[in-house]
């Protein structure tokens, strides 16, 4: 389990990183926390000739308010989701999800931008960008752009990122007083990839749900927003009947893949149970 030999370049600026990437072509990978990439290298599932270390690029760091958004730098580590007061205040869903992301040693190194770019469908943070209606800021050889999370996740480990592009930050709309959120997952052991997990953000007037965004992970090839289910909840309060309707609607939104341990019907069942429990809790907080 030793990686194939590779060259290493530590970029000091975004320009340096992009230049190095352009010169090396497709045989190069950016590396930050390395919590997914390094195991892949050791297993020789990936064998790039060049690793471009972006962890010393200061422009990719920091969490700050920018307009109606919280700008979370791509290098923000998972553990900072727990410790950073701005995140607790303005993106509390990320704060709530963070303790479920792997184990402390991984959270100390893994980065938010890396997690979103890797787009593991079983990961917590990519799915949360959907629930939050976040926007992904990208820079590449042809300049910068912002992509809505809804448009970012394309297929299994496939995103809107084009070759040579880099995530610089994630913009999360600031959490407001009329909003409520919930996060939970069902994992065999604490820190494992969940059998199913979910995050949700609701905007309400009194008990009435005006808007709700619900996103699941570990249910398919990408993090999955369940729009049909959301629709059953908008305009009403979270009573038992509404919750049951939402649970029933999940079947239309999810098509879990077959796996040797969790059959699709079981995953759908677990998603329903989880959704019911979370909506119940969300209703109690109204």
């Amino acid at each position: 389990m030793k990686a194939r030999a590779f060259s290493y370049f530590r970029a000091a600026t975004i320009d340096q990183a992009l230049d190095a990437r352009a010169r090396a072509g497709d045989d190069a990978r950016f590396i930050a926390g390395g919590q997914s990439l390094v195991p892949a290298l050791s297993l020789r599932l990936q064998a790039p000739r060049l690793l471009i270390d972006i962890t010393h690029i200061s422009e990719l760091r920091g969490v700050r308010r920018e307009g109606g958004y919280l700008r979370i730098g791509a290098l923000t580590r998972h553990c900072e989701m727990l410790s950073e007061p701005l995140i607790a205040e303005f993106a509390p869903l990320l704060h709530a999800a963070a303790p479920f992301v792997a184990h402390p040693a991984i959270r100390n190194r893994g980065t938010f931008g890396g997690s979103v770019a890797h787009a593991d469908p079983a990961s917590e943070f990519p799915a949360m960008t959907l629930a939050l209606g976040a926007e992904i800021e990208i820079i590449g050889p042809s300049g910068g752009r912002r992509v809505k999370a809804d448009d970012f996740f394309v297929d299994l480990f496939e995103t809107a990122l084009q070759p040579g592009e880099l995530i610089t930050a994630v913009f999360v709309p600031l959490f407001k007083a009329d909003q409520r959120f919930a996060f939970d997952e069902l994992a065999r052991r604490r820190g494992d990839y969940a059998l199913v997990g979910c995050g949700m953000l609701a905007t309400s007037t009194g008990e009435r749900i005006d808007d709700i965004r619900i996103s699941f992970f570990s249910v398919g090839n990408t993090p999955t927003r369940v729009k049909g289910t959301e629709a059953t909840l908008i305009g009403s309060s979270l009573g038992a009947e509404r919750i049951a309707a939402a649970q029933a609607a999940l079947e239309g939104d999810l098509a879990p893949p077959d796996s040797d341990e969790v059959p699709p019907a079981m995953r759908l069942h677990l998603a329903r149970v989880l959704l019911g429990r979370m909506l119940g809790r969300l209703g109690e907080r109204a």
């Binding site: 389990m1 030793k2 065999r188 040797d260 079981m266 677990l270 989880l274």
Partner: protein
């Protein structure tokens, strides 16, 4: 402490005291010296190309490009090593009729499991060796794969070993009393089929070996992360034709073993051969992915069993069929049939019924070899027996504790012979049961369970009594022709400054062997423990012995140390008596000082005796030859095994919507005879229980229909982790064995033996309101939800 006072209850006795392990600080400080830390001059690194097929013919192997890669020193295939290594066969004579195919380090023309090493590369670094593996091309021709018990037993189905008539490795039958008659007249019969998944040891430190052959001396030194250095000294000597005295096996610090590190692995044998071919040290450390496909697996049993009871709930008979699937051959040198053999012999062991029948069938399949792993056979026999007892209790309307109290062998009924032929010297089932009732606060747990059910919270309570095999005599392996010792040896020296060095054949893998040996020696000699240095695990310096297997370190190794220490004490006091003009019997040693036995007045330090004996022997009476080094061997006699017993209980919660199980609390009352170090015994029990809970809830090596291990990584193979583990409450009953002075028996398997049975019973108890049952482990959310028909 129910044991009577003995000569062991002396002032400043270390036996029975929780003293820290002398090596713990060194290991915690990162100062351990594991085989993987070892860097020898001129050392090279081996890597292996493994078969992607579970069963295939090797058509051709092209290694030309790999050989040409810079930094590669040797590429070896099966034929290269077959020239210098004789084949091995994993059978034992006392398992009548068992068969197994001969094995070589690397296969010649056929692979029999996915992950089998086929080609070895030795290079300047492991990374270069792995680069070279990518350049090797092997042409395979698929053969039919036997990947489960049913297809293996199918008449006319594919055969794993060409030339054999079927895929059966071994069959055995036990028949005692009148089973058919008992079932015919029974008021109640309970019956169930059980499945026990394959799992594996997952030691923190994987398998590791550095072999160093010196062609000039014709000598082989092997640094080997093994529990049994002497066994490997013998095997390397015989299979490579090197005189035993020129083979040295060193097993220093080892990061866990659990039975996994005492078997012959193809890679390890190959590494020795590679070092011989190169005349240089060669290192191989299995990585985690390799461990999953090449370490032994264990369990994999399907058991059909029934139990007959009379109208009052008295157990009358058991009838058992155990089908167990091993690998494509039987493991060497301890075989792959011991587990099945212990399953059928431990069935019903805590209970006093007399009619018993069992059939064991051990079956080959195209998977990695299975063999002895912690609590060999115990968890299966215990789970089957205890589940049937619970089923009977439900049928009869009896409380699980009450039916056990009724049927467990009475504490005053010993000696006893079990229906399967095991002889019990003295056990304490009833005392343990009473104690468990107290520490569980059982009645309160039942009341809480009933109350919570009303609000839709489903708690389950599980109980499991067990018997553990410890202190094995030659009846275990020796009688079968294996050169595996059941005795141990110790050499004790008083050093010139009055300290004691103890070289002993039992070994240390993190369980605290060196701690208890130093406690026993210090205790018997009347020394401070820090003045005893214990040295283990080097065949060049420590005497030949069994080392670590089954459960024997304290019981056999401890007695060896005790007898050796008493011999050295006699010799020290003899010299002291000459110097002090006393009778030896009038003297004693306390805290390193020779004292008057009666008054305890200090006479002289033993360091002074050492000084005189080593440097001023001219001052001793003429003709005196001080013997301040003694050696002693001890082989267990009397009962062939020192059986121990205990009982476990647990409470847990089943989430009936998700199928998730939350362990709430676990309890054990255990009787391992004389407890030498309570802290170490308690942690052995806790560790064992956690491994049992892993088997019950998480651990399983899952295979595809084509014989591919589908969860061979730590992300997919779930080991128990602290967050999911409950608090474990421990109590002891002490019934020392009379076969030794020390009276210690083993405790290494006790936790694992019954933990999974407890959980199986508790989950079924929780599901009672739903008329749902579960009969296989691990108990996954999928199995619970299936049983509850939730999807």
């Amino acid at each position: 402490m129910s044991a009577p006072l003995t000569s062991l209850d002396r002032p400043n006795s270390y036996i029975g005291r929780s003293v820290p392990r002398p090596n713990a600080k060194r290991l915690l400080a990162g100062r351990g010296r594991y085989v993987s830390d070892l860097r020898l001059p001129r050392m090279l690194h081996a890597a292996f190309l493994r078969s992607p097929h579970a069963h295939a013919k090797i058509i051709s192997i092209d290694v030309a490009q790999a050989r040409a890669l810079e930094g590669v020193h040797l590429v070896a295939i099966g034929a290269d090593l077959a020239k210098i290594c004789t084949p091995w066969t994993g059978t034992l004579d006392h398992f009548k009729g068992m068969t197994s195919a001969p094995q070589l380090p690397l296969p010649l023309d056929r692979v029999v499991w996915a992950g089998q090493a086929v080609v070895a590369v030795v290079a300047e670094s492991r990374a270069i060796a792995e680069d070279a593996l990518e350049l090797i091309e092997i042409d395979y021709e698929d053969l039919p794969v036997v990947a489960d018990i049913d297809s293996a037993r199918e008449a006319g189905g594919p055969l794993i070993n060409p030339g054999s008539g079927n895929n059966v490795c071994f069959r055995s039958q036990l028949d005692n009393g009148s089973v058919d008659d008992a079932f015919a007249h029974a008021a109640h019969v309970v019956e169930e089929e059980f499945c026990f998944g394959r799992h594996t040891a997952v030691t923190l430190e994987p398998r590791a070996i550095v072999a160093e052959y010196d062609p000039a001396a014709g000598a082989l030194t092997v640094h080997h992360a093994t529990q049994t250095p002497y066994q490997f000294q013998d095997l390397y000597s015989r299979h490579y034709g090197i005189p035993e005295a020129r083979v040295r096996v060193i097993a220093t610090d080892i990061g866990g073993s659990f039975g996994m590190k005492l078997h012959v692995y193809h890679e390890d044998m190959a590494v020795v051969g590679l070092s011989i071919l190169l005349g240089r040290p060669v290192k191989y450390v299995a990585d985690r992915m390799e461990s999953f496909v090449s370490d032994i697996h264990a369990r994999d049993h399907r058991v059909r069993a029934r139990m007959a009871l009379d109208a009052e709930g008295e157990i009358l008979a058991m009838d058992v069929l155990d089908l167990t699937a091993i690998g494509a051959f039987s493991t060497y040198p301890r075989t792959s049939v011991v587990e099945g053999n212990q399953v059928i012999r431990l069935m019903g062991a805590p209970y006093r019924f007399k009619n018993y029948r069992a059939t064991l069938e051990v079956i080959f399949q195209n998977k990695v070899q299975t063999s002895q792993y912690r609590a060999v056979g115990h968890p299966i026999a215990c789970a089957v027996t205890e589940r049937l007892v619970d089923m009977a209790a439900v049928k009869l309307g009896l409380d699980p504790l009450a039916i056990r109290a009724q049927n467990l062998i009475a504490d005053d009924a010993y000696p006893q012979t079990s229906p399967t032929g095991y002889r019990f010297e003295a056990l304490s089932h009833q005392a343990c049961l009473k104690r468990l009732h107290e520490i569980m606060d059982y009645d309160a747990l039942r009341a809480e369970q009933a109350e919570l059910r009303k609000s839709g919270v489903y708690h389950g309570i599980g109980i499991a009594a067990f018997v553990e095999i410890t202190n094995p005599s030659p009846a275990f392996y020796g009688v079968g022709g294996a050169r595996i010792s059941s005795q141990d040896g110790a050499i004790l020296s008083l050093t010139p400054s009055g300290e004691v060095r103890c070289l002993i054949s039992v070994t240390e893998q993190g369980q605290g062997t060196e701690a208890i040996i130093s406690q026993i020696v210090a205790d018997q000699l009347g020394l401070a423990q820090e003045h005893v240095k214990v040295i283990t695990g080097d065949t060049e310096v420590t005497p030949h012995g069994g080392a670590t297997w089954a459960c024997r370190g304290a019981g056999i190794g401890g007695e060896t140390a005790l007898q050796a220490a008493r011999a050295l004490r006699r010799n020290i006091l003899e010299i002291a008596a000459l110097i002090l003009q006393e009778q030896p019997s009038a003297l004693d040693i306390i805290d390193g000082e020779v004292v008057d036995a009666g008054t305890r007045n200090q006479r002289m330090p033993i360091s002074e005796i050492a000084r005189i004996a080593y440097f001023r022997s001219d001052t001793l009476p003429p003709g005196t030859q001080a013997q301040l080094t003694v050696s002693h061997h001890f082989a267990p006699q009397g009962y062939p095994f020192a059986f121990t017993n205990g009982i476990q209980g647990c409470s847990l919660e089943v989430d009936v919507e998700t199928g998730f199980i939350k362990m709430l609390k676990h309890f054990i009352v255990e009787d391992c005879g004389r407890v030498i170090n309570p802290m170490l015994v308690d942690e052995q029990l806790r560790g064992g229980i956690v491994q049992g809970l892993g088997a019950a809830l998480f651990e399983e090596c899952r295979y595809s229909e084509t014989g591919q291990l589908v969860n061979g990584s730590l992300a997919d193979y779930l080991v128990p982790m602290p967050m999911e583990m409950p608090d474990i409450v421990i109590a002891h009953v002490e019934t020392p064995t009379a076969d030794t002075e020390l009276g210690a028996k083993g405790c290494g398997e006790a936790g694992t033996a019954a933990a999974s049975a407890c959980v199986l019973n508790a989950v079924n108890d929780a599901l009672t309101p739903f008329n749902a049952t579960i009969n296989s482990i691990p108990i996954t959310p999928a199995k619970v939800l299936k049983a509850l028909k939730r999807f």
